[in-house]
């Protein structure tokens, strides 16, 4: 009975291969986008983890200097007082044109699990410690390195991409950091007589292991953004699955009744239905995973470029397969199917055996249902509002966003119903009356597809508006911020004064760009010194400032901080901020600093140099007439001997910055297009399935004298009308979405708020494209209707009634 029952149920799919394809494809698409995004995130997180664990960041507390490096003598002093710490030296080196993160450790004091897997230091400890030394590198990178370095290069597969691992002595020499230590790993086996850490090393900051690496914290928001997109796509995909399953179950009502009448117990029937769904979900899930893997593999290089450009985070450009990812993907496919099918299975379970088992276009346009939808929409809107008013953080931002979008989607059928009701009153002819009434009647069948379209369109408008607003703001900001015509860097500290003198003779002004890396309010930040020059007074993109702020900064009475830092720490002009070295300073102003994940502080240059005499003084901005830049660059190369890579002109720097910007949103744009395609597909499938069940409704109209052509044209018109209404409704929803992205999500994720600009031409284009997609989707069923043999329409009266 089990086999017979299952084969009877499955026979439905054999007879409706298109429906089967729709179901599988919908589920596969939903799974694909979701799992693709997850694969990207997993890959990136694994890279961060590998990068962090190369220096034990994830497992051990660390002591960090508030600025600069820890003196080696200080490290020895701490050891001599009993503190069990192990030194780490870290920095970037360039080998054969590639930039590497070089990490040096002391193998005799480092905890066991800090070294990367595959690095057999114990096997040749003498080789690791004594000249020429050994450097461990990711296995793929060995060849290029051997030529650029004197040390023996060895593979260690546990190393994150872009990381080299060596002895501390070698690292200090290669990084020009002799006598300096970047941070100390705090071992867990401290002596029982050890004094308190606060009295031993008051000048060092303790970072707990659970705090995670800086990179992981900084990139969290980026990955959350991707996840949100994946979720949106999954939701859109589920609309398709829900629609198809609902339709298939409705169409099988006669079969279900027959099976029950033949004696198949209800529990057996339900089990069989679930089994059938499980089989379909597994097949579609596997397809979706394969598809998701391809999507992830295609997008990963762009994600990697974004993360490198924006956060300096290195992730591997190639994707590895993780069992957890497969399992999670399959689980989401199966549970998604379950979610989408619950209603349908529930209805089968409650189906009385004796009612006429007519397909009823599987949903009635009952007032009840509209009330339910409206109630849901109102509840979600309230949730969204609450999240917006009382919520904190990125998660609240996404709740606000998600609830608002879903609320709009649920409200759409209600709105359309109302509009169609109003339109029906204008109807003069019987055909027009039938048209409006029938459109209203069809609304429930199409509403899921229309909701999907609304979601995809508003996401598209919202994200598009956000990106375009960002781009506009960003380019304007770049123009302000990059005021100097040429940026030069001396090769060494010693060369810098000569370079400055050389430039001063030839340029209008030479502005030092000197900074230190420090920790401000517990996170890495940059402190820049600013010279007294109109370039800054005229151009600096200030958001909020005290009067005469530049005079105060130059006098050392105030500092400027970037928007990120101000928002993170809730600071404003007039507040004070603690800088390294017991330096309390009043905040004079806040400036915008897009594209920089870190906090930044601007202080008067003389005050910075006085506090940190060891500051690197190699970089300068040069003010000169733009047309004189090439000549000066040539002079620098030929007259001064400065290599070309030590200078960059304003235009190149802007192009470079914009390139990073564009890359950041490549992934967003790609996901956007994919979501829209899923929505287009949803419309097509809805119309196709409706067309199949609508023949009984159309046959009487045809019998009353309307030609098939006319009927087909009306069908097409109806689809387009509904699409237009949805597109129009999507615009305000999209704008709301973009406002949330700019004013809530961006602030939480990146720390900056952007002004919103409107781009109606983009909406028009998008609207036309969607209309075209809807028209194409409607054309196929309409054509089929126009070519249905009259005999088929006649048969309906015989078969169905």
């Amino acid at each position: 009975m089990w086999i017979a029952g299952l084969s009877a149920l499955l026979s439905h799919w054999r007879r409706k291969p298109l429906q089967l394809a729709t179901l599988i494809l919908g589920l596969a698409l939903a799974t694909a986008l979701w799992s693709g995004v997850q694969a990207i995130n997993a890959e990136a997180r694994a890279s961060y983890e590998a990068a962090a664990s190369a220096v034990g960041e994830t497992r051990y507390a660390q002591l960090l200097p508030r600025e600069g490096a820890i003196a080696q003598a200080r490290y020895v002093e701490l050891r001599r007082r009993g503190l069990q710490v192990s030194p780490v030296v870290e920095g970037r080196i360039t080998v054969a044109g590639d930039s590497w993160r070089l990490i040096g450790i002391d193998p005799l004091t480092v905890p066991a699990d800090v070294a990367p897997s595959g690095a057999d230091i114990a096997g040749d400890l003498t080789g690791f410690l004594t000249a020429p030394g050994q450097i461990y590198a990711p296995p793929a990178a060995l060849d290029g390195l051997a030529e650029g370095l004197d040390q023996q290069i060895l593979p260690a597969e546990g190393l994150a991409p872009g990381v080299l691992f060596t002895d501390i002595g070698v690292a200090q020499r290669l990084l020009d950091l002799e006598g300096g230590i970047s941070r100390l790993i705090l071992r867990t086996d401290q002596p029982l007589t050890l004094p308190e850490l606060e009295t031993l090393a008051p000048e060092l900051d303790l970072r707990r292991p659970e705090a995670g690496s800086d990179v992981a914290r900084l990139t969290d928001s980026f990955h959350l953004n991707l996840t949100a997109f994946g979720l949106l796509s999954f939701a859109v995909g589920l609309f398709i699955v829900h629609g198809t399953i609902g339709l298939a179950f409705e169409q099988r009502r006669p079969m279900v009744r027959t099976l029950r009448a033949l004696g198949l117990p209800l529990t057996t029937l339900i089990t069989l239905l679930c089994l059938e769904l499980l089989i379909l979900a597994v097949i579609a899930g596997a397809l979706g995973m394969a598809l998701g893997y391809s999507i992830a593999a295609a997008l990963l290089p762009d994600v990697a470029a974004t993360l490198r450009g924006l956060y300096g985070a290195e992730i591997d450009g190639s994707l590895s397969l993780r069992p957890a990812w497969w399992l999670a993907g399959m689980a989401i496919a199966v549970s998604g199917t379950g979610l989408a099918a619950t209603g349908a299975v529930w209805r089968v379970a409650r189906l009385p055996i004796l009612v006429p088992a007519q397909p009823r276009a599987w949903a009635r346009a009952s007032e009840d249902r509209l009330v339910l939808l409206g109630g849901g929409a109102a509840a979600l809107a309230a949730t969204s509002l609450a999240a917006g008013l009382f919520g904190q953080g990125l998660i609240a931002g996404f709740v606000l966003l998600g609830a608002a979008l879903l609320s709009a989607a649920l409200a759409l059928p209600v709105l359309l119903h109302a509009i169609l009701g109003l339109a029906a009153r204008t109807a003069k002819s019987p055909v027009a009356e039938w048209f409006w009434a029938d459109t209203r009647q069809q609304l429930p069948g199409l509403s899921l597809a229309l909701m999907a379209l609304l979601l995809a369109l508003s996401a598209n408008i919202g994200v598009g508006t956000m990106v375009a607003s960002f781009r506009l703001t960003f380019t304007g900001w770049l123009d302000q911020r990059l005021a100097s015509e040429l940026y030069v860097t001396a090769r060494t500290q010693a060369e810098a004064p000569a370079l400055r003198a050389f430039l001063q003779e030839r340029a209008d002004a030479v502005l030092p760009i000197w900074n230190i890396d420090a920790r401000v309010a517990g996170l890495p930040a940059e402190i820049y010194g600013v010279a007294d020059h109109p370039t800054y007074r005229d151009n600096w993109p200030m958001l909020d400032a005290l009067p005469d702020v530049w005079d105060r900064v130059i006098a050392g009475e105030a500092i400027l901080i970037n928007e990120q830092l101000a928002r993170r720490e809730s600071l404003g002009p007039g507040d004070t901020l603690a800088l390294p070295g017991d330096w309390q300073s009043a905040i004079g102003g806040i400036y915008s600093d897009y594209g920089n994940p870190a906090g930044q502080v601007l202080v008067g240059l003389p005050h910075l140099v006085a506090r940190f005499p060891g500051i690197e003084k190699r970089r300068f901005g040069v003010r000169i007439a733009p047309e004189a830049v090439p000549a000066l660059a040539r002079d620098l190369r030929e007259g001064f001997g400065l290599p070309a890579q030590n200078m960059i002109d304003q235009a190149s720097l802007k192009a470079f910055s914009l390139q990073i910007f564009e890359r950041t949103f490549t992934v967003t744009a790609a996901l956007n297009v994919l979501t829209l395609s899923v929505a287009g597909f949803a419309i097509l499938t809805s119309l196709l399935t409706l067309a199949a069940v609508r023949q009984p409704q159309l046959a009487p109209v045809w019998a009353l004298g309307l030609t098939r052509r006319r009927l087909a044209a009306l069908e097409l018109a109806r689809a387009l009308l509904l699409a237009v209404l949805t597109i129009v409704a999507a615009i305000p929803v999209g704008l709301l979405l973009s406002w949330v992205l700019l004013a809530v999500i961006n602030v939480e994720a990146f720390g900056w708020r952007l002004p919103m600009f409107l781009f109606p031409r983009d909406w028009l284009l998008l609207g036309l494209l969607s209309l075209l997609a809807a028209a194409l989707a409607a054309l196929w069923p309409a054509r089929r209707l126009a070519r249905t043999p009259p005999a088929d329409l006649l048969k309906i009266f015989a078969n169905e009634r």
Partner: protein, 352 residues
């Protein structure tokens, strides 16, 4: 300790390589004063020059400052403590800072009748984290230090124990072997070796149960060499005994895979006059075996030295005095009974 076990084993192996795993070819060059790989070799007849010889001899491959103490608390409980600093050179030529070829390892332990605590530290020379200075004397690795060699202070601290002691020498430094030239095998492997067996020591042990005031005798061994053992020698059993008569006995038995054990002894009079005994005069016979960490360890011995009428039993205060360090060995205080009574220390290596 969550020190990287393989790295520490490698480090310890390097440190002890001169002791355990040397090439057998070296003795042919012994007369020339340097070994084939560039390290200095011990010379017979060389006089100790203090305080310089308290300091490191960097031309030699391996060296140690090895202090053991038999202690008694006010309640009569016996304890033992160990403080050891090993030095090793990775190569004959040295560099500055992190490029130094010098390599240091510290061992510290406290033994109670019912417990044994041990810890180790590693450091590289050249940066100041570990080292030895001859005058004024200081030997240190991290916060473990011995400052002053005639009278001074001795400290160590680990996660589960610590001690803070003062020492004061009550007698002279004593050369071992032939005026400090200590032969380790029939083939002539040797080291420079002197001891200070006359320390009075007192101070506080800090144990998980709380601080314990203790006092007793301590013994410092100073030894340096480049290749003291032959390849077939598998380990040694070594004792330093404080007899109640005020006399001291140092003896060891080097076990060999090929030959009978090679035993050597030095009898030290209460005034510090040493009498070295040629190989084979001292007998050391295990009389009881204890299972320690899945190993068979002889924790009771019968020692005889016919010329001195010595026939004693040496028994471990705590048979489980296992040094759970990267290179593990047994080291702990012993009680002496028989023809003579006293206390002392027993060290046994190579029981794998």
């Amino acid at each position: 300790m969550n020190v990287s076990a393989p790295i520490c084993r490698a480090a310890a192996a390097i440190l002890l390589s001169g002791v355990i795993a040397v090439g057998a070819h070296a003795q042919g060059f012994a007369g020339m004063g340097t070994s084939a790989d560039g390290f200095a070799l011990p010379r017979p007849g060389a006089e100790f020059a203090f305080p310089d010889d308290h300091g490191p001899h960097e031309a030699f491959r391996i060296e140690w400052w090895y202090l053991t103490a038999n202690l008694r608390a006010e309640d009569g409980t016996d304890y033992g403590l160990q403080w050891t600093l090993f030095r090793s050179a990775l190569s004959p030529e040295t560099g500055k800072g992190w490029d130094s070829n010098q390599f240091w390892m510290g061992h510290a332990a406290v033994t109670a009748p019912d417990a044994h605590y041990s810890a180790e530290r590693f450091a590289r020379g050249g940066i100041g984290q570990a080292g030895v200075r001859s005058d004024p004397f200081a030997a240190w690795i991290d916060d473990w230090q011995m400052t002053g060699i005639e009278a001074g202070r001795l400290t160590a601290a680990a996660a589960d124990f610590a001690y803070d002691m003062t020492i004061a020498a009550q007698g002279p430094f004593v050369p071992q072997g032939e005026s400090g030239y200590s032969v380790k095998s029939q083939a002539g492997q040797a080291s420079h070796y002197y001891s200070q067996p006359f320390y009075r020591i007192e101070g506080t042990l800090i144990l998980p149960g709380g601080p314990v005031k203790v006092a007793g005798h301590a013994w410092l061994d100073r030894e340096w060499s480049s290749q003291p053992l032959t390849e077939d020698q598998t380990g040694w059993d070594w004792v330093s005994l404080h007899l109640d008569t005020g006399e001291k006995l140092m003896g060891y038995r080097l076990r060999s895979a090929l030959d009978p054990a090679y035993t050597v002894a030095t009898w030290i009079d209460p005034d510090g006059t040493p009498t070295p005994y040629r190989a084979g005069v001292l007998t050391m016979t295990p009389t009881a075996i204890t299972e320690v960490r899945d190993r068979e360890i002889p924790t009771e011995w019968r020692l005889t030295l016919p010329g001195r009428g010595l026939d004693i039993s040496v028994a471990a205060l705590n048979p489980q005095a296992w040094m759970d360090t990267a290179i593990a060995y047994w080291e702990g205080p012993v009680r002496v009974t028989g023809s003579h009574d006293g206390v002392g220390y027993l060290e046994m290596t190579g029981y794998d």
